[in-house]
């Protein structure tokens, strides 16, 4: 028994308390301490990555104690490839976000404490395996995010923050009610036990026995589904997202899109897919349609935006849509397909890779937006710029790399994930994959439009004196850019670690 994961979660949590206690006066100390805490988290995550036994798809670094035995509540932590990947992503994005918000002058101690608490919430969500324990962190992440938007956001931050909170809470309440029902019927909150029950079919029998309704399984599934669908988000539950992402300060948006949106996808993979495979299969076609709609409509919506942040926000929805498409396709029965397990594994591999890649790329893009806003005094309309390539070539080049990574250029990280997803989904659900390619096309169009309108064309004289990236800023974006190349050329770095987990998940889906 070891305590890696507990310590990993406690570091940012306690760091946040310390930072909040320092007060607003000692600004540089506050920033330094926040950065140090997040770097300790990164160090811990890297150590775990190195000590992780990639050959096994089982849970590792497990901690399990009784917490409230009478309610079936345990302190239960553990990661497999999926959990560890998300922990690593969180650990990478948080220090970048803290560096990006270095210039926050309004109550920096509260700001940085909230960022660290958000990180603690995320670490907890990705490692907890008992519903109660997990839900604690799921909600813990929400509160700092709310205040970061509410207190440091743009002009329409009030409504944006409230909308974000209420939407998420609707999902949380239905999720909670569903799990209470499950607990009542089965006596367990343990995700692993519940998955085993689902595989043997006991779960539905027990639910029916406890409630006496025939399709109780589906009702419970929809309750849980809503909780995650709002968080990802899936169209039509997405309307909170553009407002929240564009009103939040860009460094917070890095965290929102980079990691918080993964909470939803992670929930699908860890909870919905293993616990409700039967129910997903029952409503597979509508779910696939939802995923396809999410991909295509959000790409089209992004195309119509005039604000860079809103455009990238819709682009985020689009990218996570591929993850959902892969997941739903992997849950299909698909017996007619040649070697379905391999296709499913490919789709899920792609899904995990896409989660990591999107976290990396999207947070880098919002980081560039933050740097651009710093130069333009907050302006970020597509038409406010033009010809920036001539005066800030380094900025243009590096942001260009991130944009190309986002649209899936081979050689950069985005390509591998999307390629694997489509490779897996085509045989499993050909029509869905076919329609979704429209999304790929439109993504390319709007991202190229972004490059063209902002960086090419005649120079907007207003920005003739815009400074290029400083050395410090170059170092700030360097890690993300380097990782984009590394993962694009050597995806095995991640695939190797998650492969055993994916194989296990596929087995779980076959019954």
């Amino acid at each position: 028994m070891n305590h890696w994961l507990t310590i990993l979660t406690l570091v940012p949590f306690l760091g946040g308390i310390l930072v909040a206690g320092l007060g607003a006066e000692r600004k540089n100390l506050v920033r330094g301490l926040a950065l140090a805490a997040s770097l300790v988290g990164l160090g811990g995550a890297i150590c775990m990555w190195l000590h992780f036994n990639a050959a096994s798809g089982d849970l590792q670094f497990k901690e399990k104690f009784d917490w409230v035995p009478s309610l079936g509540i345990q302190y239960f932590l553990g990661v497999d490839g999926l959990g560890l990947l998300m922990v690593l992503l969180t650990a990478i994005v948080t220090p970048l976000a803290i560096l990006a918000s270095w210039k926050v002058e309004d109550r920096p101690h509260v700001f940085h404490a909230l960022v660290l608490w958000l990180q603690a919430g995320l670490f907890g969500t990705f490692t907890a395996l008992n519903f109660f324990h997990w839900f604690l962190f799921w909600e813990l992440g929400l509160i700092p995010a709310f205040f970061l938007i509410k207190l440091w956001g743009g002009p329409k931050r009030g409504p944006a923050a409230t909308q974000f909170f209420i939407y998420t809470m609707v999902g949380s309440v239905t999720l909670l009610l569903s799990f209470l029902a499950i607990r009542l019927a089965t006596g367990s909150f343990d995700f692993i036990e519940l998955a085993a029950m689902a595989k043997s079919g006991v779960l539905v029998t027990k639910l029916q026995a406890a409630f006496g309704w025939k399709n109780i399984g589906l009702i419970i599934f929809f309750g849980a589904f809503l909780g995650f669908a709002v968080k990802v988000p899936l169209i039509p539950f997405h309307t909170w997202l553009p407002a929240a992402y564009s009103e939040a300060p860009s460094s917070v948006t890095m965290l929102l899109t980079g990691v918080m949106s993964k909470m939803g996808v992670y929930g699908f993979l860890r909870i919905l897919l293993p616990i409700f495979p039967e129910q997903i299969r029952e409503v597979l076609t509508p779910l696939l349609w939802l995923a396809v709609a999410t991909i295509v409509l959000s790409a089209c919506a992004a195309f119509a935006q005039k604000d860079i942040k809103r455009m990238l926000a819709y682009s985020s929805i689009n990218h996570l849509g591929y993850c959902l498409l892969a997941m739903f396709a992997a849950a299909s029965a698909a017996t007619a397909v040649n070697a379905p397990d391999i296709q499913k594994a490919a789709a899920l591999d792609g899904c995990l890779l896409q989660m990591f890649n999107h976290g990396l790329t999207a947070s880098a893009l919002f980081l560039f937006v933050a740097l651009l806003e710093r130069r333009s005094g907050g302006l970020r309309g597509l038409d406010d710029f033009g010809g920036l390539r001539q005066i800030i070539p380094v900025f243009t080049g590096l942001m260009g790399i991130s944009i190309f990574s986002s649209l899936g250029l081979p050689g950069l990280n985005g390509f591998v994930g999307e390629f694997l997803i489509f490779k897996g989904v085509f045989p499993l659900a050909p029509w869905a994959a076919a329609i979704s390619t429209i999304g790929l096309l439109v993504t390319a169009i709007f991202l190229l439009t972004l490059i063209q309108r902002v960086f090419c064309g005649p120079l907007n004289e207003r920005w003739a004196k815009m400074p290029d990236l400083t050395t410090a800023e170059r170092f700030l974006v360097l890690p993300s850019i380097a990782l984009m190349f590394v993962l694009g050329i050597w995806p095995q770095f991640i695939l190797g670690a998650v492969d055993a987990t994916v194989v296990k998940l596929v087995q779980q889906l076959n019954f």
């Binding site: 009478s70 109660f132 604690l136 909600e139 509410k150 209420i166 607990r183």
Partner: protein
């Protein structure tokens, strides 16, 4: 030992009476020391009690032998939880009323008398004694509001007193009827709750007596549609008064429902179970909905109390162990959280700004002027929304779990109530502390006084209590659960499926 909570508190009242009239400082200190002593005794006694699942007699001597009344104090796990709650609420209430300058000594005398009565109710196992203590609390309540309150205080005080009296008369009628029937069955007069809990009252009798007694108590628990005293009373009361009203007085009602009405008339409960649940959920949703549209900060908290007490009643209506556990835990949790919310709104905000109107508060930027109050309210709000990590979550979680199988549709409906709860709390946070409305220039002649040390202590104590129970519910569950799990307990008849007769 626990009986000393009552004696110490009333002794404090006596000491206060002999203090010189104008020495406010001495009165505060005496009151605080008394409350702390009682609270310590409550904790120590509760921890000492070896077996919380059984009713442990503290003292039992004949009182009025002719009608079978005993001076019978005892405690089981449920009493322990509520006694500890009373101790915490009493201390924090005094900390939050440190600034009372008007007739300080009388204020604290009434305050302690109220607390003494509350301790008495939670420890009485004789119906008459319980009733006497219950009535005893009405008088100090009335004077606290009528003299030290604000905003239509006479009206609020009178409404509360009248509602309480009507309720207790309903209870009294029911209890007299039960006494007569029990005498016929037992062969001797008895007011002993344990003895009465074993009497099998005729079913037809239970069907009409139960609602009488239950509603009589439930009025004080703020059951919809008899809740209307609660918001007006809470708003009119001085800060410590609203903290006590929401924190412990409403619990008196819920406790009476469980300990007297339900335990004595199990068949009656079964007959009216569905109706109670409907009223409970109506209270949850209605209270939350009305809280969402208030302009007065204190009314938001007042209606939220109605909504949260609905969860207690819903838990009681489930008639299963999980639901009962949740209901008792919710009593504790709401006592702490509502006390804290009223402390922030009444003491930290209203006593400084002299307004509770959101339209005025919006222009004040209180989140920046008194950040401690802002942060405290946010934490209390999070706890009140029922987010995990705080006591409200574990309580509502169990209530909903208990309700799922019995009333699935009502459970889903109360989920809506939770959501509206989130909405009104967010609205209050936003309008009260972190509004984006253009700020009005602060009045340089009357700067807001900084948050005082007693306030900080009170707030930290209550937040700590809610957090500790939220993270380690086992601490209280170990007291509550055995009471309902044991087949020999007085609640066993309630929990048997399909009825005992």
């Amino acid at each position: 030992m626990l009986a000393w909570t009552i004696y110490i508190t009333f002794f404090g009242v006596l000491v206060l009476m002999f203090l010189p009239r104008d020495n406010a400082r001495a009165a505060r200190i005496v009151a605080l020391l008394t409350a702390i002593a009682a609270c310590v005794v409550a904790f120590a006694g509760a921890i000492q009690q070896a077996n919380p699942g059984e009713v442990t007699t503290i003292v039992k001597t004949p009182w009025i032998p002719g009608i079978g009344a005993n001076y019978y104090l005892a405690a089981d796990g449920i009493s322990l939880v509520l006694v500890v709650l009373t101790g915490l609420a009493a201390v924090s209430g005094i900390l939050f009323s440190w600034n009372i300058e008007k007739r300080t000594k009388e204020f604290f005398a009434f305050y302690l008398a109220l607390i003494g009565g509350v301790y008495g109710v939670f420890l009485s196992f004789d119906v008459l004694l319980l009733f006497v203590f219950y009535e005893l609390t009405i008088i100090p309540k009335y004077f606290l509001i009528a003299r030290w309150g604000s905003t239509r205080k006479e009206y609020g005080a009178m409404k509360l007193a009248l509602y309480s009296f009507v309720g207790s008369h309903l209870v009294l009628i029911g209890l007299i009827a039960a006494w007569v029937v029990a005498k016929g069955q037992l062969g001797h007069a008895s007011l002993d709750l344990i003895e009465l809990s074993k009497v099998a009252f005729p079913i037809a009798f239970q069907h009409w007596v139960f609602p009488l007694v239950f509603v009589g108590f439930a009025i004080l628990a703020g059951m919809w549609p008899f809740h209307t005293w609660a918001p007006t009373g809470h708003v009119a009361a001085p800060t410590a008064g609203s903290m006590l009203l929401a924190g412990v007085v409403m619990k008196l009602g819920a406790y009476g429902c469980l300990r007297v009405a339900m335990v004595m008339f199990p068949e009656g409960v079964r007959m009216w179970q569905g109706e109670i649940a409907c009223l409970a959920v109506a209270g949850i949703v209605y209270g939350a909905g009305v809280a969402l549209v208030q302009r007065d900060f204190k009314f938001v908290i007042g209606y939220s109390s109605v909504s949260h007490m609905g969860f207690v009643l819903l838990g009681l209506a489930t008639l299963n162990t999980v639901g009962f556990d949740g209901a008792v835990l919710q009593m504790f949790s709401h006592g702490i959280i509502a006390g804290l919310l009223f402390g922030v709104v009444g003491r930290m905000v209203y006593d400084r700004t002299h307004t509770r109107d959101f339209n005025d508060l919006e222009t004040m930027q209180l989140g920046k002027l008194i950040p401690f109050a802002g942060v405290t309210f946010v934490i209390a709000g999070i706890a009140s929304m029922g987010l995990p990590g705080f006591s409200g979550f574990v309580a509502e979680f169990q209530v909903l779990m208990g309700a799922w199988t019995v009333f699935p549709k009502l459970t889903i409906l109360s989920g809506v109530g939770i959501l509206v709860g989130v909405a009104y709390t967010l609205r209050a946070v936003q309008k009260g502390f972190y509004s984006d409305a253009p700020p009005k220039p602060a009045d340089p002649d009357h700067p807001l006084e900084p948050i005082s040390v007693p306030e900080r202590f009170g707030a930290v104590m209550l937040i700590g209590a809610s957090l500790v129970i939220g993270l380690f519910p086992g601490l209280l569950m170990n007291w509550i659960e055995p009471c309902f799990n044991s087949p020999l307990s007085m609640f066993a008849r309630l929990l048997v499926k399909g009825g005992s007769q």
